[in-house]
């Protein structure tokens, strides 16, 4: 599905087995997508070819960050979002891409302890940052209390929004915005659930915040 392709190329990790001599298949496709956006626009908006050079010449940067406790150093195309870095590069596919525009919350992760939208976060800006994703929440086999609460409260159907909901809920609880169901609803409004599990999501956050 084309929507699952990263919209920016991610270079191979430094020290990884992949060859750096030529662009990977994924990078070629990804660049095609990026350039495609321009071509579709037709003559009026056509950008000069120099604006969309082939992968390999696209500016990239080296960045070191900690993801779920593991330090990682990578070279990324500057256009790479944290979401694409996690999903396409680190194989951490728990964080989901819903809108890729800050409008759904499915990509929510913690950066330096704060909940943010990883789709609008450029990976190159994360030098030294600590990122926590849904994969880093459990303690071994022991679910995080909010993960357990989502199970207890049956707070999901399809599950697509769930990782984002849980990461956002962790932030919400930490921020202390759990005084009432209304307050939780408002402070969790950055996470859309297409299945409409809002009532149970609020209960799960409430349970974890120690109000039940």
């Amino acid at each position: 599905m084309s929507s699952e392709l990263p919209d920016s190329a991610v270079s191979p990790p430094s020290g990884a087995g992949e060859s750096t001599s030529g662009p990977s298949r994924r990078a070629v496709i990804a660049t095609g997508v990026a350039v495609g956006g321009v071509v579709v626009a037709g003559g009026t908006f056509l950008a000069g070819a120099e604006e969309a050079p082939a992968t390999g010449t696209a500016p990239s940067s080296r960045v070191s960050l900690t993801v779920n406790g593991t330090r990682r150093t990578v070279t990324v195309d500057n256009r790479t979002s944290l979401l694409d870095l996690l999903r396409e590069h680190f194989d951490l596919t728990g964080s989901k891409k819903g809108c890729n525009a800050g409008a759904c919350g499915a990509c929510t992760v913690l950066v330096d302890g704060q909940r943010v939208n990883s789709c609008l976060t450029l990976a190159v800006r994360l030098e030294g940052a600590e990122v926590t994703t849904i994969e880093g929440l459990a303690d071994g086999d022991q679910l995080h209390p909010l993960q357990q609460a989502f199970v207890d409260q049956d707070a999901f159907q399809c599950g697509y929004c769930t990782p984002g909901q849980i990461m956002s809920g962790v932030g919400c609880i930490k921020e202390g915005h759990t005084g009432s169901p209304e307050e939780i609803r408002e402070w969790m409004s950055g996470n859309i659930c297409r299945c409409g599990c809002y009532v149970k999501i609020v209960r799960a956050v409430e349970q974890t915040a120690g109000r039940k």
Binding site: A41, P53, N78, G105, N117
Partner: protein, 326 residues
């Protein structure tokens, strides 16, 4: 997204240097990255300014408040001084976007954010703001969310910021720093109406940095608050909104600061409403009569006629909330 080079400014001088050479500042990135992905924005160089020292909220010598440009929306909203002196700012911020976005987005970026007009965001549509001279698809298109005040034949897009409505009401000043020094611009002069050049949105010179927003001292006690009306209860832009601040002494309104959002091409200050209030005693009939002046000069479009009445009611309701009902 078009490729770009990336640098992080270690200090203000480095940032200004890069800015002078055409580098584009990035703060929270919540407007810029989104629009770059849509290829509406195509900067060649991004300059990360997040390490610059513009992160504090300070009471000024004259008793006003200065909010640094890099203070996040969450930090500004939660700041005890903002909450106690100007609740209208805290409320406007907390009714904006989502908790996640507010953790990322900054005050400087917030007032710089670009319109949510869907044609502006769609690079295949005609849009004078994005592509000067191409036309305005919204004029004959779907314009339900567009502006009714301050529009021109070239552009009818609203300025989407909520905090900017509070800043406009309170007559804030924007602090700027360029390679030739500092200057201040009143909020009213900072955001530009479209006129014939909707592509020019702010009175910002090339490479200039916003360092902060200063809210002037106002007589106390000052009661203030923000009301936002939208299609859904949260995580949505305003159809209409009202920022109201009142100073009442001896039973008489001595100062009134009122602005509206969701209706103007810039945050819309309402001097006629303010004049109607000052010198009067709070009353139900006063709120109604003052709010009746809120839509003066409105030029509704095909799909947003409802905003004229909604604006008056929004202002009336918020005058009553802040000023009390007797």
């Amino acid at each position: 997204m078009h490729p770009f080079s990336f640098t992080k400014a270690a200090n203000t001088r480095e940032a200004l240097d890069a800015g002078r050479h055409g580098g584009r500042y990035i703060a929270g990135g919540t407007t810029l990255v989104d629009l770059m992905r849509e290829t509406v924005e195509r900067p060649e160089t991004l300059v990360d300014i997040s390490d610059l020292p513009m992160r504090d909220v300070k009471v000024t010598e004259r008793g006003g408040l200065r909010i640094g440009a890099l203070v996040t929306m969450s930090e500004a909203a939660a700041h005890p001084k903002v909450r106690s002196l100007y609740p209208v700012i805290s409320q406007a911020l907390e009714l904006s976007a989502s908790a996640q976005l507010r953790n990322m987005a900054t005050i400087g970026g917030n007032i710089m954010q670009r319109t949510r007009c869907t044609y502006f965001r769609d690079v295949t549509a005609d849009c004078n703001k994005r592509e000067p001279g191409s036309g305005c698809a919204a004029l004959e298109g779907f314009n339900r969310t567009h502006a009714i005040l301050g529009t021109s034949d070239a552009c009818v897009a609203t300025h989407p910021s909520d905090a900017a409505v509070a800043f406009a009401a309170l007559e804030a000043r924007v602090h700027l720093l360029g390679s030739d020094g500092e200057r201040q611009v009143s909020f009213a002069d900072f955001l530009l109406r479209p006129g014939r050049t909707p592509n020019r949105e702010q009175a910002l010179r090339r490479g200039e940095l916003i360092t902060g927003v200063e809210i002037p001292a106002l007589p106390r006690p000052l009661k203030s608050g923000y009301l936002k009306v939208r299609d859904r209860q949260s995580y949505e832009f305003a159809l209409t909104s009202a920022a109201v601040a009142l100073h009442v002494r001896g039973g008489v309104i001595r100062e009134a600061k009122v602005a509206a959002g969701g209706v103007g091409t810039v945050p819309w200050k309402l001097p006629a409403v303010e004049r109607h209030l000052v010198g009067e005693r709070p009353s139900e009939s006063l709120w109604t009569a003052a709010a009746a002046k809120a839509a003066e000069g409105a030029r509704p479009l095909q799909h947003n006629r409802f905003k004229v009445e909604l604006l008056k009611r929004t202002v009336e309701r918020q005058l009553r909330v802040v000023g009390g009902s007797k």
